[in-house]
Subunit: 127 residues, 2 copies
DNA sequence: GGTACCGCTTCGAAAATCGAAGCGCAAGTG
DNA sequence: CACTTGCGCTTCGATTTTCGAAGCGGTACC
C-alpha cells in the first residue's frame, strides 16, 4: 500500500506532519504536476488525459488520479471527466507563474555553454 | 545515461521542447522541490542538505544537485555550499505561495471524511 | 600519529514506473 | 438483435529509479 501525502500525516522525508512537506512529497511524484497542468482549463477523460501526456502508463495515471482525488485536488464531474476542485484550481493558480519563469529560463539557457557545467568544488573551506 | 530536462530538449512526456514541459519534468523528480525549499534562505553543504531531508540517499542527492546545477538553478559558493542562482531564487519565489496553500489545505482536510474518498464514476455520459 | 568531519561514489536491494494487452461496459449502427 | 466502437481502468512482467549502508579520499585540528 502506498501512502498518499495528506497534511498532518507522516510523509517521505519528513515526520513533522507539516502541510508543506506533504504537499512537496505529493507534487514531487512523477506526472502529478503535468496532470494538474493539463487540467488547467478543461476537464478531461482518462484516455484524453493520457494522450496529453504522450501516452503515459495507464497504471500510473490511475494511481495519480487516486492520489489527487484523495487529496481533494481533483474530482470527477457528472460525465466522469476529471477536473480540478476549487482548492485544486487555487493550487494551479499558484503554479501558473512557472510558465513565465520557464520561458525566461529557455532564453537564458540558449546563451549558455552547451555542454559540461562548472565542475563541483571539492570541499568546504574551514569553518 | 539520464537526460536532464532543459528547455528546448525532448523530455519525458513531451517532444515539443516547450520550456514548461522540461520544467515540469525536472520539478517532478523526487526531492527536487524539497531541495529548492530547503535552500530557500540559506546555503547548505552536502551533508547538511541531506540531514534536512531526513537522510535522503546521498546518491540521489548527488544526482539531483547535478540536475539542478546543469539547469543553472543551483550553484556552489566559494565554500562549496549549495545555493540558489539568481534564476533559481526567482523560481523559488514563484513556489512560495504553495506554503500558504498547504496551510489552508490542512485546515479543510481535517474536516473531511477521514478514509475512503468518493468512488470514481464508472464511465462517461454520451458525447 | 589519530580523530573528526566533509563531499561524494559504489553497488546490491527495494520500490516505482513503464507499456502492451485486454476486460467489462455503454452507446451507437445496421 | 448482433456487431462495432470507444471508454475507464486493471493486470502483470520488464525496465528504470530510488534507496541506503558502506566506505574512499581529502582537510583540519590535536
Amino acid at each position: 500500500m502506498i501512502e498518499i501525502p495528506l497534511p498532518g500525516k507522516s510523509v517521505r522525508g519528513s515526520r513533522t506532519g507539516r502541510p508543506i512537506m506533504a504537499l512537496l512529497d505529493l507534487l514531487g511524484r512523477r506526472w502529478i504536476l503535468r496532470i494538474l497542468w493539463e487540467l488547467r482549463d478543461e476537464s478531461l477523460g482518462f484516455r484524453a488525459l493520457q494522450a496529453r501526456c504522450e501516452a503515459m502508463s495507464p497504471s500510473v495515471l490511475s494511481q495519480r488520479l487516486r492520489d489527487l482525488g484523495r487529496a481533494r485536488i481533483v474530482e470527477q464531474d457528472e460525465r466522469a471527466d476529471y477536473r480540478l476542485t476549487a482548492p485544486g484550481a487555487r493550487l494551479l493558480a499558484a503554479l501558473l507563474p512557472l510558465h513565465n519563469w520557464a520561458e525566461n529560463w529557455a532564453k537564458s539557457a540558449t546563451s549558455l555553454p552547451p555542454a559540461g557545467y562548472s565542475s563541483p568544488k571539492k570541499r568546504s573551506a574551514p569553518r
